[in-house]
């Protein structure tokens, strides 16, 4: 009969080996499962069923689903995905479990509505989500803002946007911009100033990191578009006046057309091309810009800058 | 007034889930226990002793008959304050210490708050557990638990004590102590009703006994009266290796060991055997009853019914 010490030794060594083996196997399992076509499936997609299953703890379950939604979108976005099929169901479940989770509606407005790769491309679903939010939180101005935001930015339905902002402005403690936006929307819809106001409001009023980063990127893009537009106009004006295009942007300043040569939001100077166009130096880090792109440039999916 | 009056108590269990069968644990029982006596309730294991005690304590409800203790009904709280019960192989709350347990029981028995501490200490001393203060009951041996059980039964100074196998789990010294305690209790004027299957204890202690077997009462009375009808046996030991012929006719049970002979003869033949030995001038060393007469009574009484029961089932 083996002595107890020998048995202890053998058993302990075996334990260690099995532990090591199980760790290695788990890692391999993860790899195998990731390589297999990632099925985008929610095993339980009925909010009603989930609500029942939560046994009264739906608030907690909502928080769990919310976390899932954020991580789902964030990781896919980072990997450059072109579709986000699960985002709408996840947000739907989150808000069904906790209709007062305002940040979920905000997320939907910012990332469910826009076209891929920046969003799921489902503006109508985003509208429905926001309307649901408004119904359940009639005294929270954020939700009216989200609704108006979607109408304005994605659907370009300025009447409905104005209406949403107007309703929101009547809520106590509403952000002052709501009134302004409602009033000015009819006149200035589509203008840069309007868009800038919207994105600034979003940037200031959200606590969500991704939403804020997104808003900052849009604001930078607006800046670039504005700058490029202004510069190109000045370049043609210069050519008309002087008969030849400026050789460098500094010439515009010398000619008294510019007080200072602007730099792009990243701190780089704009490039003056031979045909009079203005281009940015680093288009990869300036998502959403519509002007100043080199010809044939294909935009990468946006990565939010860490400093945002 | 009798301390305990059992008036036709009976208990039948229905056994089985679908087809209910009646199982009779106790046939109608009739006997009394007088105040101030030590009464033994005897029977083999499974005879119905514990069932009877549980009926008397109100833990189980009779299917027939009634009983009275100190003239009151079974579940009368006023009566319960005056009785003490020691169950078979008692078990107590694991995490309490003995003093805490007894304090709790004192509370439930209505002992005055000022008295509790004193009585607890007193009774622990009396059962031979003076120093178990801080130890939790889960660490107690079987014998110690038995002593705690006795302690809780006598704690509140009851008039009648019901003890189910009070000697079980005790070593010989312990058993002696319990016997002495029971004698003391009798001298204090209490009534002690105890069940046991150990006949020697009953014989030495009891004023009267009742014998029960297979749920049926087989006999009630003073020990001496019951056993007088039964012939016992004695063992005779004498020096030498010679067995007189007369003795050989009385018995075949004899052994020669070294320098002595042991022979077992019927009590009735005892005198004849002694005469035979004397005639052969054999030196008698001892004459001892082989089995207690109560045991003989017991066995004799029970054997026929066991055989009959065997035939019935």
């Amino acid at each position: 009969m083996k002595s107890p010490r020998r048995i202890t030794l053998v058993a302990s060594v075996l334990l260690g080996l099995c532990l090591l083996a199980s760790v290695l196997l788990l890692r391999q399992l993860d790899q195998v499962r990731n390589r297999a076509a990632p099925q985008e499936v929610l095993y339980l997609s009925s909010p009603k069923v989930l609500k029942r299953l939560s046994l009264g703890y739906q608030g907690l379950l909502a928080d769990v689903y919310w976390t899932r939604a954020v991580q789902y979108f964030g990781s896919k976005h980072y990997a450059g995905a072109r579709s986000y099929e699960l985002l709408a169901p996840l947000l739907e479940i989150t808000t069904a479990l906790d209709p007062n989770l305002t940040v979920a509606y905000e997320f939907g407005a910012n990332f469910l509505a826009p076209q891929p790769p920046n969003g799921a491309g489902m503006p109508q679903a985003a509208v429905e989500l926001a309307e649901y939010g408004v119904r359940n939180n009639p005294n929270d101005w954020h939700l009216y803002y989200d609704l108006g935001f979607i109408y304005y930015v994605e659907l370009k339905d300025y009447t409905r946007a104005s209406d949403a902002f107007a309703r929101g402005s009547r809520v106590p403690d509403a952000h002052p911009f709501l009134k302004v936006m409602a009033a000015q929307m009819a006149q200035h819809s589509g203008e840069v100033g309007m868009a800038r106001m919207l994105w600034t409001t979003t940037y200031q009023s959200t606590a969500d990191r991704s939403i804020r980063a997104n808003a900052a990127a849009h604001l930078r893009a607006l800046q670039v578009d504005e700058d490029v537009g202004t510069l190109e106009k000045l370049v043609s004006l210069y050519r008309e006046q002087k008969g030849h295009p400026p050789s460098v942007l500094g010439d515009l300043q010398t000619a008294g057309m510019l007080s200072a040569v602007p730099v792009d939001p990243l701190g780089h100077s704009y490039k003056l091309m031979s045909d009079g166009h203005i281009e940015v130096r680093d288009p990869d880090n300036l998502p959403f810009i519509e002007k100043g792109l080199p010809p044939g440039y294909v935009a990468l999916p946006p990565k939010f800058l860490p400093s945002d | 007034m009798a301390a305990i009056e059992i008036l036709g108590l009976e208990k039948t269990y229905t056994v089985g889930f679908w087809r209910k069968r009646a199982k009779c644990a106790l046939r109608p029982l009739h006997f009394n226990v007088e105040e101030g006596e030590i009464f033994g309730f005897l029977g083999p294991n499974g005879a119905g002793k514990t069932t009877t005690l549980k009926l008397l304590m109100g833990l189980v409800f009779p299917t027939g008959g009634t009983a009275r203790i100190l003239g009151r009904e079974i579940n009368d709280p006023a009566m319960k304050a005056q009785i003490g019960f020691l169950p078979e192989q008692p078990y107590f709350y694991d995490y309490l210490t003995a003093p805490e347990l007894l304090e709790y029981y004192a509370q439930l028995s209505g002992v005055a708050p000022k008295e509790r501490g004193r009585k607890v200490g007193e009774v622990l001393g009396r059962v031979g557990l003076p120093d178990v203060g801080g130890v939790q009951l889960r660490k107690f041996s079987k014998g110690m638990l038995q002593r705690v059980g006795i302690a809780q039964a006598i704690l509140h100074d009851p008039k009648v004590l019901f003890l189910d196998e009070p000697m079980s789990g005790l070593d010989p010294i312990g058993r002696r102590e319990v016997r002495d305690l029971m004698e003391q209790l009798k001298q204090e004027g209490k009534t002690v009703f105890f069940s046991t299957h150990i006949l020697s204890d009953a014989e030495s202690l009891c004023d009267r006994v009742a014998i029960i077997h297979l749920g049926e009462l087989r006999g009630v009375g003073v020990v001496a009266d019951l056993t007088s009808s039964v012939e016992g046996k004695v063992e005779v030991v004498w020096q030498g290796n010679l067995v007189p012929a007369a003795v050989k006719t009385m018995t075949t049970e004899y052994h020669l060991t070294g320098d002595t002979v042991r022979a077992v003869v019927l009590e009735g033949n005892q005198d004849a055997a002694i005469d035979a030995l004397r005639r052969d001038r054999l030196r008698i060393i001892s004459i001892i009853p082989v089995r207690t007469s109560l045991e003989e009574y017991f066995v004799r009484k029970l054997k026929p019914s066991e055989a009959a029961a065997g035939a019935r089932s």
Binding site: A62 | P77, Y95
Partner: protein, 258 residues
Amino acid sequence: MSSRIAYIAFNTFREAVRDRVLYNLVAFAVLMSGAAILVGQISIGIERLVVVNLGLAAVSLFGMVIAIFIGIALVSKEIDKRTLYTVLSRPVQRWEFIVGKFLGLAGTLVVNTVFMAVGVFAALLYVSPHFQVADTWILVALYFIVLQFLIITSLALLFSSFSSPLLSAVFAFSLFVIGSFSEDLRGFAALAQGATRWLATAAAYLVPDFSSLNVISSVAHGQPVASQLILSNTLYAVVYAGMILCGAVVIFEHRNLK
């Protein structure tokens, strides 16, 4: 009479504590600490919400488990181990025993909840630098959770008085699950027809209503709880637990102890 109930209750409490039930608080503390620290990484902007949701859910679940695990053994263990014999041979009525046991376990749960409440508020303080007025409603949610405990304890005790521990646990837990959507059950009963309607209605009203007692989500959002609701829930819990206790008393009163 009442002093005997108090003695039994205190003894039950003492037994639970010495049986190390309060050690669950260690696990709870670990959970709350971990959550408070991690929530900032995982769910930004809704830290307070998550801490309250998680904390109250944990208080509720831990307590339910304790209530059920200890409750189902309250009577059956005493019968099995025969500790009950020496109690009932004293001038203690069977119903006093049941009530005393109930109060003892309820008391244990209240004490446990108080400690846990401290933990929840500590975690809350960690994630948001100071308390808000809305945090007082968390106390109401905790009170409601205690009322839930009263109900589930009475149910566990009821089952313990006649059933084995395993079955008692299954029944008690099932009633907790069904009770958490009793509201839906009542709605379903109203819409059903015929025999189903009668059965469903009976079930819907017999099953304990845990859904009304759960205000965790709204309290997590800082919403107030109507005082009418507080009053109604208190009365309901008392009445329901009382009903179940009466049932336990009746069953126990007629039980032959083995």
